[in-house]
């Protein structure tokens, strides 16, 4: 490891999608400031490297819809915007959310109404229309669905590599293998301690997702996030079997055939307790493989490539937490378990806020202050 600088104008802790995006935008906005990004692990060491690779604007809370809507053009024009000609494998075949029963269909209807207020081109589908979009699915019990053609799937590794390269080019100093042990206020700035070394930073952005409380708890800053251990598995590459990404609440499942042909299955388990132990559990396959085959029968003959576990960052309203904490100069970037799809806009707008620029109202509402305000939270209903 090359030596760490002792001082930086802005320090970003965490080099996942959120940390890299915010660091990159900070330097783009303020090439005159030094930005240091510290990450305890290697490239894509935590949640971004474990995600299901899905993108959807079809949410049921305004904050989520807006973040995704604002991120979409960045993903559609990733090569130009981030100087990444290799491509991010964006398979923009849409995203189909299935309703098993009228109650779920009503929820989708309400979500679509909200989405259309922001100009999202999503629509309610009949079972027949859903079957035409995804002929391989078993739709028994399905009463309808919601669909948006601009949603889809894209490679988290490519996206992160693109952010990483663009950030380095923009002049962000990126250091992997550096675990930050604590952050403390220090005269009018902050002191970070990392493996015995001290770094002084004028402003700090903490982007360690579910691990944020470990760093901020001792400062008396309460960011309400809980880890929920989720699991996923992926098959060997298959011939095209599934165009759109598919969510089924009844199956507690998200299916995504990526541009490479592998099918990624994110299999939640509502009965699993919150906790930070993300190790895959032995009951994953009988439970989730059976459900996946029920949903997409062609998966029966598919061969497994590998499985893994990762942590969803559960917030009280299932929205991201982006903004300044009670300590001026100390910011958080917490994904609310959709950090891959929201990273472009979350990073750009948070960078503006850190720089003291105005941000849209809807973004300002994602601040951690919302939890202390006593106002009623707008909760996201469309989570698998």
């Amino acid at each position: 490891m090359t030596t760490l600088p002792r001082i930086a104008d802005i320090a970003v802790i965490g080099g996942g999608a959120y940390g890299l995006s915010v660091a990159l935008w900070l330097r783009r906005l303020r090439p005159d400031l030094s930005v240091l990004l510290l990450d305890r692990s290697d490239f894509a060491g935590n949640e971004t490297g474990r995600c299901g690779a899905g993108f959807r604007v079809q949410w049921g809370a305004a904050g989520n819809i807006r973040l995704c809507q604002d991120s979409l053009p960045s993903y559609e024009n990733f090569a130009e915007e981030f100087g990444y000609p290799e491509g991010i494998e964006f398979k923009q075949d849409g995203y189909l959310i299935l309703a098993h029963g009228e109650e779920q269909l009503d929820q989708l209807r309400r979500n679509i109404a909200l989405q259309s207020r922001f100009g999202v081109d999503s629509s309610l589908l009949t079972v027949e229309e859903a079957a035409r979009l995804a002929p391989g699915l078993n739709l028994s019990g399905v009463v309808g669905g919601s669909f948006c053609a601009r949603d889809g799937s894209l490679s988290p590794f490519r996206v992160l590599d693109g952010f990483h390269r663009a950030a380095a080019r923009a002049g962000v100093l990126i250091r992997h293998g550096v675990k930050v042990d604590s952050v403390e206020p220090f005269s009018s700035a902050f002191r970070l301690s990392a493996g015995g070394e001290a770094i002084e930073a004028g402003r700090v952005v903490v982007a360690t997702d579910t691990r944020i409380p470990q760093l901020l708890g001792s400062l008396g800053i309460d960011i309400p996030v809980q880890p929920y251990p989720n699991q996923a598995f992926v098959t060997e590459p298959l011939p095209p079997r599934l165009g759109p990404c598919v969510v089924s609440f009844a199956h507690e499942m998200f299916l995504n055939q990526t541009a490479r042909g592998s099918v990624v299955v994110v299999a939640s388990d509502r009965r699993r307790a919150l906790g930070a132990d993300a190790q895959p559990t032995a009951d994953l396959f009988p439970r989730a493989a059976a459900r996946a085959i029920d949903l997409l029968p062609a998966l029966g003959t598919a061969r497994l490539l590998r499985s893994w576990g990762g942590l969803y960052s559960i917030t009280p309203d299932m929205l991201a937490v982006l903004g300044e904490t009670a300590l001026p100069g100390l910011f958080v970037a917490l994904s609310g378990a959709k950090g891959f799809m929201t990273a472009p806009a979350a990073g750009r707008l948070l960078a503006q806020l850190v720089d003291g620029q105005a941000v849209p109202d809807w973004f300002a509402r994602l601040s951690p202050a919302r939890f202390a305000s006593g106002e009623e939270l707008e909760k996201e209903p469309a989570i698998v």
């Binding site: 590794f157 590599d161 060997e236 396959f285 009988p286 059976a290 085959i293 029966g300 497994l304």
Partner: protein
């Protein structure tokens, strides 16, 4: 309460002996093996319909070893629940080992687990290595032993260690023409200094040496040129392998200009040593260390095969290359230790019962330690991997892409893998991770890649169809 149970993964010489030993000592034994019949890599058996046939003089010692091994196994086979055609694909703990065949899967419990999964071949990728007709030396053998198939008519071989020589001789006996065997170093020269100092090891290795001598004689009689200190530069051809280009190297693996030679061949076989199948041990949490000669990331184990995880043992070549004879002895030693642990939580309990195997193993180990030097690859060997050469064939990742990632600072193996996708494909990194580690620089070999549940390509239908454990091992 049910009987103490030892689960053994892999029915090669090590696993067969471990299973037999644990059964002899009174444990319930489950022997899980992917192959349809026992024997492992070295004694791979053809299906019964293809069995039989004459054994050549050179092949006789191996056939004799095989007979002794199978005899010893047969004595206890009645007490072993052998599950062929079944793979262990995940370990969630010794009490939750996931095994699967083509139609079903189950979780089984072990009081002691012996991982005897052997190793797989390593190949240094040179331009053209992904052409049809390019295989590993072991694949030549596997086709011949397992299916009585000769991979080609004109077969050129290149690489390190003795395997290319043995495979070449076997191909000659099977009727192929072998235009050349090109080796990085003479496999015999590093042997002598060590062996002459240790007569016991020389004695233990006499069988292997005389066998090697016989294989060399087969090559000599057939007029096959064996060129040592030569390096493979490329394979070329129109849509398939047609020729192998080699050159002398300068001792570090760099070709000496003007010494190139080309050999026409319809099949080219490489072997640059081995990589231990240590994923299961790593998934169970065993510590590893890197050993470039004996198989890469090896589980750290003591003389009983015990790893850093209580109850988890490693036997045979999965712990590092030492050859089939050592593997059988090691299996007998580790089987006794696993039985001691399963029955009494004391791996040393039956040590006396395995004393003879332990002593014989020591002699094989000394001999093999001398031989291991022939697998040491010259320092600059990876200079031959050109920027456009595909390193990870599953994901189509070139050397240029890997170099770029390393230059971007992703020089730890796990980060490099995630950044490039090299090693993420269907083969689980078997064919490229060693190259990736070598290209990564000093940090590359320091860490093994994470081993995640699902190491074998089992169908989702089989994983979904989980049956209960009750019938196992009783």
């Amino acid at each position: 309460m049910s009987r103490a149970r030892v689960v053994v993964v892999g029915a090669g010489p090590a696993g067969m002996m471990a299973a037999a030993q644990a059964a002899r000592l009174g444990c319930a034994v489950v022997l899980v093996d992917e192959a349809p019949r026992p024997g492992g890599q070295i004694h791979r058996q053809p299906p019964p319909s293809l069995a039989g046939g004459a054994v050549s003089a050179a092949a006789r010692p191996e056939a004799e070893r095989k007979r002794r091994l199978f005899d010893r196994f047969a004595r206890h086979a009645g007490a072993i629940d052998h599950r062929p055609g079944t793979s262990v694909t995940a370990i969630y703990g010794l009490d939750r080992i996931l095994i699967a065949d083509e139609t079903s899967s189950r979780l089984i419990r072990a009081d002691a687990l012996v991982v005897a999964t052997g190793l797989h071949e390593r190949v240094v990728p040179v331009p053209g290595w992904t052409l049809p007709g390019v295989v590993t030396a072991g694949a030549l053998q596997a086709l011949l032993k397992g299916g009585r198939v000769r991979a080609g008519d004109r077969i050129a071989l290149a690489g390190a260690g003795p395997l290319p020589l043995v495979a070449a001789a076997q191909m000659v006996e099977a009727g192929a023409t072998v235009p050349v065997v090109a080796l990085l170093r003479p496999p015999w020269s590093p042997l002598w200094p060590g062996l002459l100092r240790d007569p016991a090891a020389l004695w233990a290795g006499r069988g292997v040496l005389s066998e090697g001598w016989r294989w060399l004689s087969v090559l000599r009689r057939a007029g096959v040129p064996v060129l040592t200190r030569h390096v493979a530069l490329s394979v070329s051809g129109d849509g398939a392998a047609e020729r192998l280009v080699i050159a002398r190297h300068d001792g570090r693996g760099r070709p000496v200009p003007g010494t190139e030679r080309r050999f026409a061949a319809d099949t080219v076989a490489f072997n640059h040593g081995f990589t231990a199948n240590s994923e299961l041990a790593r998934m169970a949490g065993a510590e590893t260390r890197f050993d470039p000669r004996r198989g890469g990331w090896l589980p750290v184990r003591d003389g009983d095969g015990a790893t850093s995880v209580p109850g988890l043992f490693v036997a045979g070549d999965a712990g590092g290359f030492a050859g089939g004879l050592a593997a059988a002895c090691d299996g007998a030693v580790v089987g006794a230790a696993a039985a001691g642990w399963a029955l009494h939580r004391d791996a040393g309990r039956f040590a006396a019962q395995a004393a003879a195997d332990r002593a014989e193993r020591a002699r094989h180990w000394t001999f093999q330690a001398a031989l291991a030097a022939s697998w040491e690859l010259p320092r600059d060997i990876h200079e031959l991997v050109t920027p456009a050469t595909v390193v990870c064939r599953c994901e189509g990742v070139t050397r240029a892409r890997i170099d770029r990632a390393v230059a971007d600072g992703h020089d730890g193996l796990n980060g490099l893998k995630r950044n490039t996708r090299a090693g993420m494909g269907s083969c689980g990194g078997r064919s490229c991770l060693r190259t990736l580690a070598a290209l990564a620089g000093p940090r590359g070999e320091g860490e093994a890649v994470n081993a995640r549940p699902g190491i074998r390509p089992v169908t989702l239908a089989a994983l979904a169809n989980r049956v209960s454990d009750e019938s196992v091992g009783s």
